[in-house]
Symmetry: C2
Subunit: 693 residues, 2 copies
């Protein structure tokens, strides 16, 4: 996936280590059969089959196992694509109950005796929806659907084609013949498509009679009228130029996408907000592919900081756990750790956090147990790079990212932002150690977390500024205050409630503090405000900021948006006129904010065994929506008099405020304090609350 | 290479971790051009080209670089085969002066500024004889040559075909047609080929009209009379059975081999010894393939303990440094280390030793520098598994091998043999740290080595037994004495000369001590005796032991030979009637012993910058031979009156004993003591010494 980026026709792989699969894998399973059973076996790779320790001839494609207890071991070798196994019988089938290992440590001594293999490390096999012998994993492809342009404009140099909105797929040239070169300039904006010099992506093809050559791949194909490009790209517009000798009728496309059910939903009395949710959902869908990627035009890479936000939005939209798991695995790769995640220090920390998030939403403890050893080696890498204070600072090779900012961001010394994330990562390690039943580790990480936690406020809190300062160099606090550490400290609950209130004024609502201009950090900024009960202010921000992009004509949300900029300034980034991604996953955060802080649904215990629903209108007249849970969903409706909640699984509190005594159709209302009430919700029936707003 | 083993038609990969290549590699080179230069570029993989930081369109196959200073960076992605690059211009060409990295850590900030890449780890590119754009590394194949059978015998069930001696290659079935199954049973012995039930390797083919299917690969090929199998095998005999419906005329083969120049030679007055040398050389040639493998029939795997002996023999036969280097790399694989080399503790230690050996013979310091980081992580693994005494003992998952023995060999506790190898490995680390200019490491490893060395004799020397005991359990010496640690302690010079003399009697020449029945450990046993000046006794052993195999009809040397066994007993091993390999690299040790301890040639300084020649007849009337050096050779002739030595490079002493004053044609004789003399040899002229034997 990370090797699909191109820049003006040049291949552009990532600058961090790309790991490949294990090339020899043994799959094994203990089987108990009441009846003899025939199995079929399909394998990607060269393989052998051992039944109860006895090697079978060749590579059997069918076998009959007698009744009784069996050990079935199938060893697969494949350098090109990951070793993959499909076994199917009446009762036997490959799934994640099979074990895998890449070194079975089973040697034979001179007398023919096999070694003790207790040192072998087994993992659960990965499995997904490859339920048919004819759909091997290596042939996996996203779905495609034909799409037509909505407008075609003939210009002096070529044709400008508009597909109506940001999209992704394979351009299809119809009625192609003749002799000469045809060039496709892609644009997320019209300006980009028409700028043949500086547009970010393009394809060049040479047509010659009944052959067509992709000039950036040096690859030729037979041509019989129509041609669909091999590489999919992101665009709304394309501009096509061609030599006089080339003929071509029509351009269409195959839209390429991962099929996803929209299990979450949101509608309200505010049509602009509804449109923001829809464009957010579409942005999420475009960037949820083989993995959760950052943006569809430029990198098409998997970035940990981007991905953790995709996961969180995903829990309120698709609840696609497979995409979460495979993205977390991809980001980690194999040992040894030779750099931070994507080389970025903060991205390493988000990676840790994302695992516990996933557990909390999904309840999938097996995943935590399986990945825990990789968490350990990642944390060993981090701990091996701490300074004498036990804090992290950027060493050579570390990218201290924080955020793209329109202004100077000091990356030197101990950044409070990085320490806050580091501390939360250590706490996460302790939680996951407990889940993995690694008690000694749990104690170790708890202590490390507590030690660092105790240092945070003494090191960074500035009583004069009533805020955490940005960094400390040589033990000296800097004068600079930024939003980052302060807002994370709020929702990590690292501050006293007095300090939280101070930060609200001194930082979060203070226009003198360097503004955030990426949806990426707005995600956390607005989340911090929501945690403090500022839903009405946040609603205004959502409409201003995301509504602002819509006013600029956005059909998907952007990598960065500064309302102070105008025209082509919105397209530029990285010193390039069209460097900015106009469809960026982190642009979709209203999906998360509306689900978690307006519909107000979140898991309290893992996998929504217990949940809480705290609906807040934040200025809306009414809203309604659904939040998916592992096996169902939670429906919420709220207007100024009524709250309705229905959960297909789990139990939990519905929290709300009411000016007078509320009414309920079932259960009992608990009066907590002042205007605060809650109702315990059980069973699948709808709870209807009458309240006074 | 390790994935070519089959067992009765079943694929049989190794039980240790198989690493694969890095799938994204950046090749780079600083280039200075006086004139503009056109280069051609050929790549295995998808790639991009950056000239002075600027990405070029597509995947250019030709480029013209202007005169001046340039940075050329080519990034290649390939999951199937290792990323490979070929660049050729008038002055520019790819070789090991190019750098490679698998993570360049070059990120771009929001203003378009590139990061400092000083944290990037660069290595020298691997390169070999792929000097033509049409010979990509992934297509490398050994050479083949057609060979005919020497005898064909028709038996009731099939045909027995004899190729006259142990060989290796692809069976070729000529004039094949009809319908039915044809089975090829391979045998290193006639007994094995004819035993259709228990022979180790076989191939089954189904012929059906103009198609033939390899039933163990589930793979079909078009058939037009002749068919050559896709997998090469080891055999002298093959037995072919076929269904009545299959017709087939003739069987021949394609002999498969690595082209090697026989740069070393040996001839003497003893024809049997000459035959032993020749069969040894042939055994070496058969097992020197893509890598140095153990034996050609069964594993065809690369084993560290076997390989170190192959390397040493190789220095006296082919001096093929490329095969040494690539075998050392293969044995190590990638980090992290998850087991000992081939899972065997002693094999890890041989791996360390083999690197300094290679340096000493070749003078190739670049190799040591390049592999040093992998030596460090391997040693970290070892040090992480030491006990409270700082010694190694077999933990779960460790195979403590020592040797195949006809008798009980205790593997428990601290084995003196393993500690001796461990100590030598630490000394090797210190030497290599110095070569790699890692001064702090050198000090650390020297200290670790000295600490362990100081513990060896107190822990294992038994004054009553006048020997090192075999092992120590719970701090208590066992009663057992074996040859292993004692003989290594001799040639590692870990004992006083008094102790050495004691060991000679109490262990090495003592028939009550468990006998060695593998050529593997005979290698070291006879080396220890040679170091003590026992060439005459060793000559008798060579003739008895290797001559013994020749008397049994060997056409290549075996994995194991016990003169007390007879008939089919010679074929059995691992509880299988034909489990023994009859062509095993470690069988060829006379190649090494005759070169190093009879012709007496060895490097004193790295790469034979200085050498010593200490010829010893050991009972022969005369002998003559050549020992290769990196850029030439050293010729030695000796009879009972004359010694002749000629070296094409390097300088060194010729050492000899003489009963009276010797004469020389050049240089000056130094009288050392008693009958010991030496002459310093310089230049390429022949030195002729007259002496009295």
């Amino acid at each position: 996936m990370n090797n699909r980026r191109t820049e003006r026709g040049a291949f552009f792989p990532p600058f961090w280590k790309t790991d490949s699969h294990y090339v020899v894998v043994e799959f094994s399973k203990k089987i108990s059969l009441a009846q003899p059973e025939e199995i079929e076996i399909a394998v990607e790779g060269r393989y052998n089959v051992k039944l109860n320790g006895k090697l079978q001839f060749g590579m059997p494609q069918r076998m009959t196992l007698p009744a009784g207890e069996h050990s079935l071991n199938i060893k697969v070798y494949n350098t090109t694509t990951p070793p993959a196994l499909f076994v199917k019988g009446k009762t036997i089938h490959t799934d994640n109950s099979w074990n895998v290992t890449f070194e079975d440590k089973e040697w034979i001594d001179e007398s023919g005796k096999a070694s003790d293999t207790s040192a072998t490390t087994y993992m659960a096999a990965g499995s997904w929806n490859f339920n048919d012998i004819h759909t091997p994993p290596s042939q996996f492809k996203l779905e495609v659907e034909p799409m037509e342009a909505v407008a075609v404009e003939s210009l002096p140099g070529g044709e400008l084609i508009d597909f109506g909105r940001e999209t992704f797929g394979f351009i299809r040239l119809q009625g192609l013949s003749g002799e000469g070169v045809i060039t496709i300039y892609y644009g997320e904006s019209k300006e980009e498509a028409l700028d043949t010099e500086y547009g970010e992506t393009l394809d060049k093809l040479a047509v010659s009679g009944n052959q067509i050559t992709d000039l950036s791949l040096n690859k030729s194909y037979p041509l019989d009228g129509d041609f669909t490009l091999e590489s999919s790209k992101a665009y709304r517009y394309i501009y096509i130029t061609k030599d006089a000798g080339v003929k071509q009728d029509k351009v269409s496309m195959l839209y390429e996408y991962l099929p996803e059910a929209y299990r979450g939903s949101f509608r309200s009395s505010d049509e602009e907000l509804n449109r923001i949710w829809e464009i957010g959902a579409y942005t999420m869908h475009l960037t949820t592919r083989e993995f959760f990627i950052d943006g569809i035009k430029r990198d098409r890479w998997v970035w940990s900081g981007d991905a953790i936000q995709s996961y969180l939005m995903n829990y309120y939209l698709f609840f696609d756990s497979e995409s979460v798991k495979r993205t977390i695995w991809l980001l980690r790769g194999k040992d040894p750790v030779t750099s931070h995640s994507n080389t970025i220090m903060d991205y390493t920390f988000y990676w840790f956090l994302s695992i516990y998030d996933y557990y909390l939403y999904s309840g999938d403890i097996d995943f935590v147990k399986q990945i825990y050893p990789r968490m350990q080696t990642m944390m060993e890498y981090v701990l091996g790079r701490t300074n004498v204070n036990g804090m992290v600072e950027g060493l050579t090779g570390d990218w201290v990212f924080v955020d793209w900012a329109d202004g100077y961001l000091d990356k030197k010394g101990e950044l409070s932002f990085e320490q806050v994330l580091f501390c939360k990562s250590l706490e996460t390690m302790a939680l996951c150690a407990q889940l993995a039943e690694e008690d000694q580790d749990q104690v170790t990480y708890q202590k490390l977390a507590a030690d660092l936690r105790a240092k945070l406020l003494p090191a960074f809190w500035n009583e004069t500024k009533q805020a955490l300062v940005h960094n400390r160099i040589g033990g000296e606090q800097s004068e600079s205050v930024t939003r980052y550490a302060n807002m994370f400290a709020v929702f990590f609950n690292y501050l006293t409630s007095e300090q939280q209130q101070q930060i609200r004024e001194s930082v979060l609502l203070n226009d003198d503090i360097l503004k955030i201009t990426t949806p990426y950090m707005r995600f956390y900024e607005l989340e911090a405000l929501c945690v403090m009960g500022e839903q009405t202010a946040v609603m205004k921000e959502i409409k201003d900021y995301w509504g602002g992009m819509l006013h600029e004509g956005a059909t998907s949300f952007w990598e960065k948006y500064n309302p102070d900029e105008s025209g082509r300034e919105h397209l530029a980034m990285y010193g390039r006129p069209y460097g900015k991604s106009l469809c960026h996953a982190w642009g979709a955060s209203p999906i998360y904010l509306l689900g978690k802080y307006y519909l107000g649904v979140r898991p309290v215990k893992e996998g929504y065994k217990e949940f809480s629903v705290t609906p807040v209108l934040g200025g809306l007249e009414w809203m309604e929506g659904k939040v998916p849970t592992p096996g169902g969903d939670i429906k919420v409706y709220m207007d100024q008099h009524t709250i309705k909640v229905k959960a297909t699984e789990g139990t939990g509190y519905v929290n709300f405020t009411s000016g007078s005594n509320p009414t309920v159709n079932r259960g009992e209302v608990e009066h907590l304090s002042g205007t605060n009430y809650r109702v315990w919700l059980e069973g699948g029936e709808e709870l209807v609350i009458g309240y006074e707003s």
